[in-house]
Subunit: 351 residues, 2 copies
């Protein structure tokens, strides 16, 4: 019996299409010879569409995307579009509309990977970033704009419902990992209302996971440990904005954003989850075949894992680890990296 | 003619009193033989007072502190006090009531200093963190607390008045530095209202400083550069929360929070400015003579600079640089470090 995965492909802007092409190449190889087929639908979303039509994501686009099992996204954003238009109107709209409340971002220092740290230690943690609340809700506004009396506010909205579900997901992930450790990162000494909600929720949900050790760090202190002792972390759970900041830093210390994968996941599986590299559209190197597609390839692995195709996911991440171990710093084109990874995955396909 | 500086001393909690004692020791030596006298008033503020009286900072305390020329603060915070009580009720209350809108935090990698980075490069930048607005205003609240329907909000408030004055201060500082470069850090693609106010303000004020080069980074990208290329920064201007996060990270890469000094400055000089190490009260090592007082000593140097005593300030920072260059990693007690720094400052006192 053949299983068909309906995949919505949002290649996006800048280097997005280049890295997505390699992600799909590796995906095809990983599934070759299996009973799983992928049916891809490309979605023309991003800067070009906006310039042409003024549209970011229409109701029709969203309805069509909902008919899929997963989304692979390259990168969104372009300096020719006013800041925020594509981020709020497309990328965040997808995350919010599809209720991607778990933004999953693993960090691992692969043997041989270049890192700015003198001695990173054995780094292997995952950030569970809340994806549908916090300062990202778009609940801001301004009065007297452009005058000396302007006031611009941004509201971080946090609900028991929203915090509890992501915290429970993070505990479950921690419980399934060998070290079973969860660190809440917030700033409850300043953001007392939101912070105390997070804190109480971790305490309450933690009672259901007695075998998971719980730790707390203020966000400022967490950045210190991410550079002085990143190996201490196992699962980090945090809000949308702190998660944004911490995961870029985490990427920087573990091989750079060229390697950082992410999943925007709806664990309830009522909507397609979305997989994307953490990096942006990098307009400065777009179209030059210089982008590293590894983060997208690892995002494909996260997608396969989410879809229950654990073996195929593992083959991809093993291929990446093997490739990284042999990298010598010489520049390779985007497609050369994709080819190399595809070849390694092919080697690993069981006969 | 003798000049008298009225100094309010808030030693605070944990290691606060220990490091403040060394800061004052070095201050005395730096001013010895000059025509500047320091008249100190200790203020009993912090956890012990709160436990005894339930008070954090009374109107009388504040009125008395206002009568001073400057404040030296050790550290505030204690795990026996509910989170937020002393931070909001004392530390942030001082910063807000005294309108410390420039939170100045220099970062320098002194030769010989241990850093977690393999190759930090020539790091010498200063973060100008806004100190009286943003998510720190305490404009949050929650409903249905403790129920499954709780909603907890935190409001970031940003005004043209507040943003413009700190941006102007940052530009002036950039102009006075050899590299003349200013980097705005924000997240204007998500926090569009606040972000665009900051952005427009930097553009407008920048027109008055045509010789200062201006750059922009999203806060997540800024954390990447702080570990991959911190030498690129000269002056960073940013909001209260981003500044909190970036300065802890900056401290971590440039020798640790044992060295990070800060000034909470009111450039209009209508109130006393406050100088404090970036580190916290570190209850785990309090009372053991293990805390490094260098950050407090460097905060004293910032204070002297603010008070126009530039030569004395320089003697202290030179003494710190010389001491760091000869540190061999052997543990020294808090007072031993203070003594060593005081001795070096004494050597430098002009005959
Ligand atoms: C592009 C931007 C809106 C986005 C975010 O802030 O979430 C990005 O930084 C990310 O981390 O995926
Ligand atoms: C103690 C806390 C309220 C404070 C802050 O967040 O500003 C501290 O982290 C700092 O950076 O001075």
């Amino acid at each position: 019996m053949t299983r068909t995965i309906k995949l919505a492909v949002v290649a996006g802007d800048g280097i997005g299409p280049e890295v997505v092409a390699e992600g799909l190449k590796v995906l095809d190889v990983a599934l070759a010879g299996s009973d799983v087929r992928v049916e891809r639908t490309p979605f023309d979303l991003g800067a070009a569409r906006w310039h042409r039509t003024g549209e970011t994501l229409t109701d029709e686009d969203l309805a069509a995307i909902r008919e899929h099992d997963a989304i692979l996204l390259g990168a969104i954003g372009d300096p020719t579009v006013p800041s925020g238009v594509l981020e709020r109107g497309l990328l965040l709209k997808l995350r919010f509309a599809l209720d991607h409340y778990v933004n999953l971002r693993p960090s691992r220092v692969y043997p041989g990977v270049p890192t700015p740290l003198a001695d990173p230690g054995d780094v292997d943690f995952v950030v569970v970033r809340e994806g549908t609340e916090g300062p990202y809700v778009g609940n801001g506004g301004a009065i007297r704009v452009g005058t000396p009396h302007e006031v611009a506010n941004e509201v971080s909205v946090n609900t028991a419902f929203g915090v509890e579900r992501v915290v429970r997901d993070a505990f479950a992930r921690a419980q399934a990992r060998p070290r079973k450790k969860l660190t809440l990162v917030h700033k409850h000494n300043v953001l007392v209302h939101a912070g105390h909600l997070w804190r109480r929720t971790v305490e309450a949900v933690g009672a259901e996971f007695p075998d998971v050790a719980v730790d707390y760090l203020h966000v400022d202190a967490a950045t210190i440990f991410l550079v002085t002792d990143p190996a201490r972390f196992d699962v980090i759970v945090t809000d949308n904005l702190f998660g944004d900041i911490l995961t870029d830093l985490a990427a920087a210390i573990s091989g750079g954003i060229g390697l950082a994968a992410s999943g925007n996941i709806n664990p309830d599986r009522t909507t397609p989850s979305m997989f994307e590299p953490v990096h942006g559209s990098a307009p400065d190197i777009a179209g030059q075949g210089k982008a590293d597609p590894t983060a997208t390839v690892l995002s494909v692995a996260l997608m396969l894992e989410h879809l229950g195709l654990t073996d195929q996911a593992r083959r991809i991440s093993d291929a990446v680890a093997a490739d990284i171990a042999e990298r010598d710093g010489a520049a390779r084109s985007t497609s050369a990296v994709g080819d190399a990874l595809a070849a390694r995955v092919a080697e690993r396909v069981p006969a």
